[in-house]
Symmetry: C2
Subunit: 318 residues, 2 copies
């Protein structure tokens, strides 16, 4: 899984942070979570191809999360996209999404499927199982969990040789879960295969106050991308606007055994040292916390979360 | 008049050029011409305040000219704008503009007045006379001429002293166009005032093929901002899509005695040397031609067109 932060700010852009969008690449396909204004230009500063975007989740209908949608769609069309595009949003989002997609005299040569998602809906996309639920914001707002299938274990080549299996087609049979015969002996796959490797779980959460549904959907996630509009000192303000603070985010991550918490949707009021302080306060609660910067490009591997080798060198300052 | 190019590309953004928007500042007020996606962020890289924008002209309803509108309006609201905002577009634009402004659950604490403009409509805004007309594109598209009032001539202080007028209140009277008496003699203002200085004329043209109406509205303009989607070699393509080439733009400027032609809306296919070649071909027809780059910040003075001292130093590359 590759995770690219296209915009990490909340409310409106600053020089440092564009408004929100996160790309998740699994295999060749990309799922986009939110699409703030300017997302299509941020994509130009990465190695991601916007033509590979299969679906776009709009967590909720505040402008900083979806005003980039019509421009991105129009640009896909001008670049001869043929594949259909799924645009998925929470309850009540359909007419709003359709309205912004219908503004102006554009022409799309590909099918756009706009869908409102029911609470706790699950579907599959290739090898992925995707579940969404409603979280707790001033307007309907989604969290989305993407679960990879478990992968087969590692093939122990030394062990196979030791058991007398000759390198070649029998190796493939064993790795594909089939029993083989060698000199009248039966070799079972589990004699040479390591334990299955757990598929990764990625969770993206739209704007929300801490709530039970995010705790449920984010349980045991490898990565939770979660909003931190305010710092701890503004907890009352966060409550009034149904947002979360940095420390609340860390508490949620700790409570649901999240491996890596990545904060985004940082208010324009914070930069530099403030952000560093927010991070330190989080790490007291949940050590594996990061605050995303625009164009952070990460991969989640068996060894953990690392900077992607794909990272585009020639990108904007800030 | 100060002219700031917020975006100079056509169709979709590139690393070098955002999609179109031009700000015209006269006195403290700003008029915005078009508002492509990302315009609000481009404004952060200038010294212009988006709260000073009084009116926004949307030349036509192709997305690269207006998808930045809802985000800019929402950000004005979040920053406590109280002043009303005029949004003006061509015929048939009203419902589209309203649709994009109504998408999502935003809240604007100020009045937005959306108006469709009739062909060859004229109105005043403070000291400015603003006229619009329809040009020749695939959808209704506007050109807008902004004419400053003529200003009184320069006061000739030496001449006044020579005529025996004592420095002080009588100088003010004369500069304000009033006759004064000195030692029984009558001094008329035109004895000490230079000829009135012609107000500047700025013309912004939306996407268009060359046509009579642009030649009429741009007549004798000090500055004409005009599209150059294609280079001369693609004249057929320009015709098919009802755009202009660089050389056609220069011919229009020459025909209507424009002082300074500034080209924008450059297709994403052109960069570097191509753009330099486009410029050179133009200058053979109309020497006073420039091709705008993003964040170019110019002032139009009696001496001509110069780089503004206001130009923000800390801006994006490209």
């Amino acid at each position: 899984m590759r995770i690219v932060f296209l915009g990490t700010g909340g409310s409106f852009p600053t020089k440092e942070r564009n408004v929100g969008s996160v790309a998740l690449q699994v295999g060749g396909d990309i799922i986009l979570f939110d699409c703030g204004e300017g997302t299509q230009r941020q994509l130009l500063y990465t190695t991601l191809s916007f033509m590979k975007i299969k679906r776009i989740y709009i967590s909720h209908l505040h402008g900083d999360h979806f005003f980039g949608l019509p421009g991105l769609v129009q640009t896909m069309g001008m670049n001869q996209r043929k594949d259909p595009l799924e645009i998925l949003g929470p309850q009540e989002s359909g007419p709003h999404l359709q309205r912004i997609l219908d503004a102006g005299f554009g022409f799309n040569p590909f099918e756009i499927r706009v869908r409102e998602l029911a609470d706790w809906h699950t579907e599959t996309e290739g090898e992925l199982t995707i579940t969404n639920c409603q979280v707790n914001h001033t307007v309907p707002s989604l969290a989305i969990a993407v679960q990879e299938k478990d992968k087969r274990g590692k093939f122990d080549r030394e062990k196979a040789v030791e058991l007398g299996v000759p390198p070649g087609p029998l190796f493939s049979k064993l790795t594909n879960g089939r029993t083989v015969e060698v000199d009248g002996r039966t070799i079972e796959p589990d004699q040479v295969m390591g334990p299955p490797r757990k598929g990764k779980k990625f969770v993206y959460c739209g704007d929300t106050a801490p709530c039970d549904s995010i705790r449920e959907i984010a349980k045991d996630a490898d990565v939770l991308v979660y909003e931190s509009t305010f710092a701890h000192e503004l907890e009352e303000k966060a409550k009034d606007f149904m947002h979360s603070t940095n420390v609340q985010a860390a508490q949620v991550a700790k409570e649901c055994n999240v491996k890596h918490l990545i904060l985004n949707h940082i208010s324009p009021r914070y930069s530099g040292e403030d952000v560093q302080n927010m991070l330190e306060d989080c790490r007291k609660v949940h050590p594996e916390t990061h605050i995303a910067s625009d164009l952070d490009d990460l991969v989640l591997t068996a060894e953990g979360l690392k900077e992607s080798r794909e990272k585009e060198q020639d990108h904007r300052p800030g």
